[in-house]
């Protein structure tokens, strides 16, 4: 069906074929197409000359600029560190009290700490540092391992029950599971423990059990938690006489804690975060406590 026709609308000739009604105009390729193709090719050739581009057997062309993504990022990181050298040096050199007294440095701590905390810590301790069952709140006054900035920084470095050679170690024994105490005794000591935090209500309802529990506590628990349950930050044993609970203060949870024991695990950050970053985090945590409710982004 090779009949070349003229398209009445455009005035161009068709190429003279027809497929079930379809025809094609034999019009030259519009020149802009060639320009753009040329421009894109030129751009590419320039790029190939400048950058690593073509494979050659067991090597490749490196490009005149000698650029490689790996050296570039290392350089960018070094530049960034250079730009931050001012405050980096000051935070590294100063001790905690000095930094906390320096509002300008604390602004840096808040800025840098926010994302660091959000990306590394908030998964366990919550976005606002309030913790949750098993994960201590970092904004209350109860500290397992001491609330001094140096202690916090050390906790961050080595972790708790972490696979770090210097890790802090702590374990609440499983008195029930390991058959150190029987059920009855655990119920009694649990009642006593609860009475430490809420003396009024607990004492009123279970005075009998509380008295018995006090004996058991002295024999089994005081070694770690102290005679009056005030805790021991060398062993990471929590204060039981305050109103803060790590795992929970309701009867079931306290019973479970004593029956099955507890062993919290806080990762060590020495090899994941730089010393400076850990220092910033320690300061950031202490600062968090002074933030009004809901002030964190």
């Amino acid at each position: 069906m090779a009949i070349r026709e003229r398209d009445p609308h455009t005035g161009h000739m068709t190429i003279g074929h027809e497929w079930n009604g379809i025809t094609e105009l034999n019009r030259p390729v519009p020149t802009p197409v060639w320009w753009f193709l040329g421009a894109a090719a030129l751009f590419s050739v320039v790029f190939w000359v400048l950058m690593p581009a073509w494979p050659l057997g067991d090597t490749y062309t490196r490009g005149l600029l000698g650029v490689d993504q790996r050296t570039t990022v290392v350089q960018k990181l070094a530049e960034a560190e250079q730009q931050q050298a001012g405050w980096r040096r000051r935070i590294a050199a100063a001790d905690f009290a000095e930094i906390e007294a320096d509002e300008a440095l604390m602004r840096v701590v808040r800025g840098a700490g926010s994302a660091l905390f959000g990306d590394n810590c908030s998964a366990c301790h919550g976005a606002a540092g309030r913790g949750g069952p098993g994960y201590p709140s970092l904004v209350d006054d109860a500290w397992l391992w001491g609330g001094a900035p140096e202690s916090i920084a050390e906790t961050l470095r080595v972790g708790v029950n972490a696979p770090h050679p210097d890790t802090r170690v702590s374990e609440m024994p499983a008195f029930g599971h390991d058959q150190i105490l029987d059920r009855e005794a655990i119920l009694q000591v649990a009642a006593y423990v609860r009475s430490l935090a809420e003396p009024v209500s607990a004492a009123a309802s279970h005075s009998q059990a509380v008295a018995a529990g006090k004996e058991i506590f002295a024999a089994n628990c005081a070694a770690c938690h102290g005679d009056n349950g005030q805790g021991n930050s060398d062993a990471g044993a929590p204060n039981l006489s305050d109103s803060f609970w790590l795992y929970g203060g309701d009867p079931q949870t306290v019973f479970r804690t004593i029956f099955y024991g507890r062993k919290g695990h806080m990762p060590a950050w020495e090899h994941r975060l730089a010393e400076l970053e850990r220092k910033i985090l320690a300061l950031y945590i202490r600062d968090l406590r002074s933030w009004p409710e809901g002030a964190r982004r």
Binding site: P55, G57, D58, T59, Y60, Q69, R70, T72, V73, K76, L77, A80, A115, D119, N120, S122, A123, C124, A127, G132, G134, P163, H164, P165, H265, M266, P267, A268, E270, H271, R272
Partner: protein, 243 residues
């Protein structure tokens, strides 16, 4: 040119051959040299293999489609290195059949997640992400702790991987199922076998908190805890004790 084409388009076989030829160039030039250029994959003499349990966890990761939301590839960009750690090396996934670099980050990159969180956290998070991260949109994977891990095929996994180039030894293949149990049952005789075959630093723990049962949860957590830990090559020369 157009005259030539005018003739070419009259022959279907010639057209087909031309298409194949024109289309083959790109792939050949870009893929083949990746096997011949030595520096494509870095040397990592300390690289160890996935244990059978970790491999089983990797299969769970694939099966559940975690890769649809999580990348395992830290790019050579400042913000990624600062957020996730040293950029990923080709060596780190040299035994990954298939690679799980991913193409979408609905959740964070996981290339260096190993050791970042505790087993308990991973358990709680996989069981119900919103329990620990209220903002999370990650699905809850409760069934992982319900399902016993099937270890029947692990020997075949290792054998098949060996055929495609992963250097598992006969001993490893023969003990695959035992090793999977052993790695999640510390203090057992089987656990000692794992350490012998895969090295002392291997994580041997009751990953899901229950040494009595071997679950799919054990496997995924074992896998997550080894991500980024198979070799220290990415950390440069700095020795990295304690992890």
């Amino acid at each position: 040119m157009f005259g030539f084409h005018y003739r070419l388009e009259r022959h279907s076989i010639a057209l087909a051959v031309a298409i194949i030829l024109v289309a083959s160039v790109g792939g050949a030039v870009e893929i083949a040299p990746l096997f011949t250029i030595d520096e494509t994959v870095e040397h990592a003499p300390d690289m160890r293999l996935y244990t059978p349990l970790e491999l089983a966890g990797r299969e769970v990761y694939i099966r559940e489609g975690c890769y649809a939301c999580h990348s395992q590839m830290i790019r050579t960009l400042r913000d990624e290195v600062e957020r996730y750690g040293p950029y990923s090396l080709a060596a780190e996934s040299q035994y990954d059949h298939p690679m799980l670099w991913g193409s979408k980050r609905t959740g964070p990159d996981l290339a260096r997640i190993g050791g970042k969180y505790s087993d308990e956290w991973h358990f709680a998070h996989l069981f119900n992400p919103r329990e620990v991260v209220p903002e999370s949109v990650m699905p809850a994977y409760r069934w992982l702790s319900r399902n016993e891990l099937s270890t029947d095929d692990l020997g075949r996994y290792l054998a098949a991987l060996r055929k495609v180039g992963v250097p598992y030894s006969d001993d490893m293949v023969a003990h695959a199922a035992d090793d999977a149990h052993g790695q999640a049952t510390p203090d057992s005789a089987r656990a000692r076998g794992v350490a012998g075959r895969y090295g002392e630093p291997t994580n041997i723990r009751a990953f899901d908190g229950d040494p009595g049962r071997l679950t799919e949860m054990d496997a995924v957590i074992a896998y997550l805890q080894i991500l980024g830990q198979l070799t220290k090559a990415a950390y440069g020369s700095a020795p990295d004790a304690g992890e």
